[in-house]
Symmetry: C2
């Protein structure tokens, strides 16, 4: 699709039913992808069926999570990765929920798509998600955006997130390969340990490799791994790599490690276990989200149950089960 067609479509925008967008998403049409992601983000009930259909067509992409504390240099790394991976012939998708990301600048203004220089010249699709106003549904919306890019033929799909906050850790845990980026300096390490992101790494990357302190950070990470609890996937030996996003130095080692981990997951059979863990996380996260939304809505059902409890017609436990829909009215 040319830029001209895209502009024209936006000008004469009308509401296309989400189910009609599905075949366009599967064909890889950028405007359909962007619309579909916006609908996932806004949690339109109308889009639920289409998103379920898209999910059924997804499952081929290698989903790579890139996380790290603020200031670690994630966005610079992602830009460098887009160039390197696109250069190697990959159709790269990026979903950024890092508020400090240059890709995320647009998220504050609305749901518009922002292409970085790297993305614009490489055919990559970069999308930022608003990090507020989701009532706990950020993980759901982000992973639905990943599904959309996956179903549209993008791979790898990179999730860029700042590794602080439960939602963010949950999202990045839903990647097949998790890269945790650390910047040289002890303070950051402590922040990362606190956030619990070091232990979800499949690959450790240390940014600003040109700095002399980088070696100490690499040694510290290696030391921490030696001391740490045994990992679930014992057949993967976790690499600790120094990268310099600015000079592009040693970026090849990182892209190779990412590919190697994907191969490892497939060959070892670990991929099945990981897919199961990801599905589990997504189901529980969505259930939690639906549940909280029901509470926040309150209204009709709850009010009538309150009256029944006040009138001692039913007890609070029965009312709770009715509210949850786990029991039907007698």
């Amino acid at each position: 699709m040319t830029a001209a067609t895209h502009t024209q479509m936006s000008r004469h925008a009308h509401y296309v039913p989400s189910m009609d967008l599905v075949p366009l998403v599967l064909e890889g049409r950028v405007s359909a992808i962007a619309r579909m992601i916006s609908r996932a983000e806004a949690a339109y009930p109308e889009a639920a069926q289409a998103l379920a259909e898209i999910y059924r067509h997804a499952g081929r992409a290698h989903v790579v999570g890139i996380t790290g504390v603020p200031g670690a240099g994630k966005s610079t790394l992602v830009s460098a990765l887009i160039k390197a991976l696109a250069g190697a012939g990959h159709k790269v998708g990026v979903v950024a929920i890092d508020p400090s990301s240059p890709f995320s600048g647009g998220a504050i203004l609305g749901d518009r798509v922002r292409m970085s220089d790297a993305a614009a010249t490489s055919g990559a699709f970069v999308r930022s998600m608003a990090t507020r106003g989701h009532l706990g549904g950020l993980a759901r919306a982000t992973l639905e955006a990943v599904d959309i890019l996956d179903a549209a033929g993008y791979s790898p799909v990179i999730i860029e997130t700042v590794g602080v906050g439960q939602d963010e850790v949950e999202v990045v845990s839903a990647a097949h390969t998790v890269v945790v980026l650390s910047a040289p300096g002890l303070g950051d390490d402590i922040q990362a340990i606190k956030a619990g992101i070091l232990e979800i790494a499949d690959i450790h990357a240390v940014s600003k490799a040109d700095k002399p302190e980088a070696a100490a950070t690499i040694a510290a990470l290696n030391g921490m791994m030696a001391l740490g609890a045994p990992r679930t996937d014992t057949r993967w030996s976790l690499p600790v790599l120094a990268v310099s996003s600015v000079s592009g130095n040693r970026l090849g080692e990182l892209t190779e490690a990412i590919s190697a981990h994907w191969m490892h997951l497939k060959e070892s059979g670990e991929l099945a276990a990981r897919r199961r863990a990801i599905a589990r996380t997504r189901i529980l996260s969505t259930a939690r989200h639906l549940f909280h939304r029901k509470f926040n809505e309150g209204g009709g059902d709850l009010d009538s149950h309150v009256e029944a409890v006040v009138g001692r017609a039913i007890g609070p436990s029965t009312a709770a089960r009715l509210l949850l829909g786990w029991e039907s009215e007698a």
Copy 2:
């Protein structure tokens, strides 16, 4: 029931179905009450129907919450109140979820009933609840214990809780009359403000009235009320009372204020609004508890949904709705 009969029953303990305990609870039989509370605390599924039945028979008691930061002197005050109220002819019930309470000592060892001197000589029923291991169900269990005492004819039923922690604030909010006890000293005030308990007070009590600092605390509380947000129940003018539990000094003012508030609730019609708010809190708290328990159980249902999502037969949102029981399998 004599002490001898009680001992005999304990010695030949066998499992009496909870529904068979209900008429004994309604008659006020102490051993049946104690058993029923233990079952509520342990969340026996078998007891659910009986607890619902008991709830339907409850609703006459005046439920009084007594809260305050640790060290405010709650337990001493409760002991003094038991004596004073029992002396005035009331059949007093107490449910303590204050880990620092002398009544709660037994809770750590198990679910045995502990009678203080005050309780033993007055016909009061005092029960402590374990404050751990409830998976968020502490509020549910505590308020079911209140129902049991209520249905058994106790009134007032006092809930003694340390006013720190969401669960504890939730429990005491389910009382008709909330007494917030402050000890002279600024540090405690700040702790109480932080915990959000000052704003739920219907009556402010300042302990250690004999201390010279008490007057300053009373002035501070009065000042805070003048500055604070307008209360929902504007027809009740919130008293700030000095009490000395040790000397029993001015305890009469507190028991009078508690009675006056109960009269006020009934005469103003505010009781209906409060009952509605209490029912709402209990329903939501129970629903939240049931939901978390379902997650923690995991198992059967969740596992099969995970397989369906991994196999791309259904999306995570559908699986979440199935897990919640909000959608039935196709």
